[in-house]
Amino acid sequence: MTSTALQQLYQQIILDHAKSRHGASAGELPPLPIVPASAVPAFNELRLAESHQVNTTCGDDVTVRVGVRGAGDDAVIEEFAWRGDGCSISMASASVLHDTVRGVSVGQARAMLDTYREMLRSRGTIEPDEEILGDAAAFSGVSRYPARVKCAMLAWVAFEAAVMPVAG
């Protein structure tokens, strides 16, 4: 009986990513190196940061770890690793996020994040901007399901929380 509405929500890209989970670590991520709070990072040193987010309605969780080099909007996201447990939307969005933001500047990532968030909150009124979002545009169908927006945002929120403090 598969409805077109369901196919809109679960686009093939999403189903594929949910299974292949690019960049996902099978087990726990290795512990972050401990950096004393007083340490002043050398210019152009790779700085690691991570964030763990839980969707309290379902218990899905994602940890995103980034390695950022440089400062401000020009800083580059050189490393991106994640682990998580959850529904196909939350896992696929983490996988797509991995492919989308690795190697881009913090400024670009911020623009993507804003566009993505705006699309998801639009209740289906905003056409996805594939130019900016790439594969992440496939999540546009989620915006018609307000209960699932959190699933699609989970990894992005973790990414935002990890990157912003280190990128300044």
Partner: protein, 438 residues
């Protein structure tokens, strides 16, 4: 120790027939609703049940003809409201085999459990004097729950332990989702002061052996609180015959409105228990420093009460009584079996808890290998099927059974066999849709 006798008599009741269920459905307007272009298939009564017209009318009639504060005014309307309110208490008490003054109104089961926990806490602080001495808890005392509890029957006890210095222990769940009764015999010991457990599991649907557990508690002199949220709506429950000290349940799970729940407590226990909430309507004499309290149940009902909800709950109880709890239970056993057999036939489905042949209420929770519960629920929702997905407020039990989330289909007296079959047929499509081969 013997199994409680009622199980044999229950099995002989004639299940509601499909024709009777069809007539019952006419009393529930919401069942006419369409969802996503399909007739609503409501399989989430374990979370909250639907209301028959008679319940909604009882509430409306109260507001149209009788609305006034109870136990407060002396005018005719207030007197009538009080009488109706107290008659509702008598109806609910009779339904569970309690005396009328053993029924305390609360907002829901959660509040009822907190009422007991905070009253014990107050007793532990020395409130309630001599009569409350038996309720005092402190270091060295133990509170025992089970690993299958709803968070409502776990967290209030965690908090009580933290406030009093008592230790919280639990009866483990076995791989098949049933309680480990052998372990119960060692967990419940001389230090146990309170045993709190659920009558029927909201996740695996099994009915726990109340008689055995109560007997264990009695040998060590512990109090027993029964979470009857999933039993009172679905099977005949007689709290006096079960010999529990306290029992709690929520109106919204038994055809009643939200905002009303019940604490049952044995007369002699309620008599010695200090109050939890205090204020108006629960006192006799008050001066600037002290107050004397009314006898139970009023002692535990501070403030303006949930009057229309209590009256509507009594209408729900009348509806259940007229339908017959034995027959509802027998019907649900049939639906539960149909669910289990059908789920067992679907590749990749793992039912949580024991399979066929175990006494149960009409619900089943399962894991569909390779597909997250949220995705299962989304697919079913698109077909108008409402199920519960997630941890069903029982994270420890899910962890014990090796899953973080599951999907639950729960039936009630208005559920048709066709609805169960439509659910099963739709569920069969889910794994292929998500590209999962089993």
């Amino acid at each position: 120790m013997t199994l409680s006798a009622p199980s044999s008599t229950r099995a002989t009741a004639r299940p509601l027939t499909d024709e009777e269920v069809a007539r019952i459905r006419n009393d529930f307007p919401i069942l006419e609703t369409r969802v996503n272009g399909h007739p609503l298939n409501y399989l989430d009564s374990g979370a909250t049940s639907q209301n028959p017209v008679s319940v909604m009318e009882a509430e409306q009639e109260f507001y149209e003809q009788r609305n006034a504060a109870v136990h407060r005014g002396a005018h005719t309307l207030a007197f009538g409201a009080t009488e109706t309110f107290e008659a509702a208490r008598a109806t609910v008490a009779a339904f569970i085999g309690a005396r009328t003054d053993e029924v305390v109104w609360t907002s829901n089961a959660t509040e009822a459990i907190n009422l007991v926990a905070y009253s014990l806490s107050n007793a532990s602080l020395g409130l309630g004097g001599e009569a409350a001495k038996r309720f005092r808890l402190g270091a060295g005392d133990e509170i025992v729950v089970t690993e299958m509890e709803h968070h409502a029957n776990l967290i209030p006890w965690q908090q009580l332990a933290l406030r009093t210095g008592a230790t919280l222990r639990f009866i483990p769940v076995q791989d098949d989702g049933t309680l480990d009764l052998a372990a119960a015999g060692t967990v419940i010991g001389a230090r146990t002061r309170l045993l709190a457990f659920t009558h029927a599991s909201n996740v695996v649907g099994t009915i726990n052996p109340v008689a055995e557990l109560v007997a264990l508690a009695r040998t060590v002199g512990a109090l027993v609180l029964l979470d009857a949220c999933q039993s009172v709506p679905h099977l005949p429950v007689d709290v006096a015959a079960l010999d529990v000290d306290f029992a709690v349940f929520s109106g919204h799970k038994m055809l009643g409105p939200t905002g009303i729940g019940v604490l049952y407590g044995k007369t002699e226990l309620l008599a010695g228990l200090p109050p939890f909430l205090t204020g108006g309507s629960m006192i006799t004499t008050v001066d600037m420093h002290t107050a004397e309290f009314l006898a139970p149940p009023q002692r535990f009902e501070a403030g303006t009460q949930r009057i229309s909800q209590a009256i509507a709950l009594a209408a729900a109880v009348d509806y259940l009584t007229e339908t017959g709890m034995e027959r509802i239970m027998a019907r649900e056993a049939e639906l539960g079996n149909r669910l289990l057999v059908g789920l067992g036939d679907i590749p990749g489905v793992r039912v949580l808890g024991p399979g066929l042949g175990v006494e149960r209420i009409g619900l089943a929770s399962f894991d569909l290998v390779g597909v997250h519960a949220h995705d299962v629920g989304q697919y079913l929702d698109e077909a108008g099927i409402a199920v519960r997905v997630g941890h069903h407020c029982a994270q420890p039990l899910h962890r014990r059974l090796g899953v973080t989330a599951s999907t639950r289909a729960s039936t009630y007296l208005y559920t048709t066999t066709d609805e169960v079959d439509q659910f099963l047929a739709t569920l069969r499509e889910v794994a292929p849709f998500f590209g999962v081969r089993s």
